[in-house]
Symmetry: C2
Subunit: 201 residues, 2 copies
Amino acid sequence: MHTSFDPSLPPPTIREEDCPFCAIAAAHPPFDPIDPPHPFPSPPSAPTSYVVLSTPALIAFLDILPLSHGHLLLCTRAHRPKLTDVTGPEARDLGGCIRLLSAALVRATGIADWNVVQNNGAAAAQVVPHMHYHLIPRPEIRASGRYRESFTMFGRGQREELDEDEAEQLAEELRQQIADILREEQEDGESFLNKPPKQKL
Amino acid sequence: MHTSFDPSLPPPTIREEDCPFCAIAAAHPPFDPIDPPHPFPSPPSAPTSYVVLSTPALIAFLDILPLSHGHLLLCTRAHRPKLTDVTGPEARDLGGCIRLLSAALVRATGIADWNVVQNNGAAAAQVVPHMHYHLIPRPEIRASGRYRESFTMFGRGQREELDEDEAEQLAEELRQQIADILREEQEDGESFLNKPPKQKL
């Protein structure tokens, strides 16, 4: 069951049928992350998107206006305006996937530092009102002339459109790294996504 | 079992025994979030801290240099330098708790917009090398003279020290809201923390 915490909050500023993230989710059915499709299908009706993970509950894809190489978005498959609108199980899945995607991102980009950001509401700079986590690699300051120490997390000023070929290659690499990590963790007895926690409250 | 994803990464820049978040965790044993202690104990040996949630795996407390009223930190009880160092179950617990704390924060502060931020590594502006999520309420621009549209997420420039009385009152309110939400969700059949996900991959 899905409940919003505060019924007095204003409704989302976009209808579900106009939501770009819902359109991406609708065009990409879930696939087994440990055995991703290869070559990866590109649905003709979908908005341009480079999907790296698609489960019954969640979907992750490259940001088309990246703040850095590898900038990823992770959202619920269902339309949830804010983090308080997601179900408990979705929230737990999101937590597990952020770890998985972080590890895959470090391996795929070679960048060991990154930010995880999730914005709720206009005052917090949320642009698409379908809740999503950003994962943003942060190259060392010295390695990137474009890096500013007090960078602006939000706004589109310094964002450049994604290059198509580069994006396809990066998405393929990320799907591969995700599969590798899941395979290694199976062997280790670890789990990212679908095991209950070891300890209860 | 705990494994780091990339053994070639540099070691954390702080030893576990010097870590302020480990000290806070050590001073605050887990309590039942649905029935928090009242009055809340203040361990004499601990660093100043206002704890709102303490489970076997996680601990959440007020940031002592808040970017806004209600600025919360959520971290693992165990010392994990980056998000890729946490276990799968910890990552899932973190995901569930971010939702719970977000809901409690909206209720306690009356502020419906907020950011969730988690920084990994110096280039990503991580200051304390014990992984933690920030939850930062964002009052409407018009309601706060201090708000800047392109605010700096990181750095300490505009941060003011927490007022002790205000902090104690806010922490008490947050513990109460957390308990209320957990009680409501029990009735609803929802779960924040300790149920397996509804669907598997």
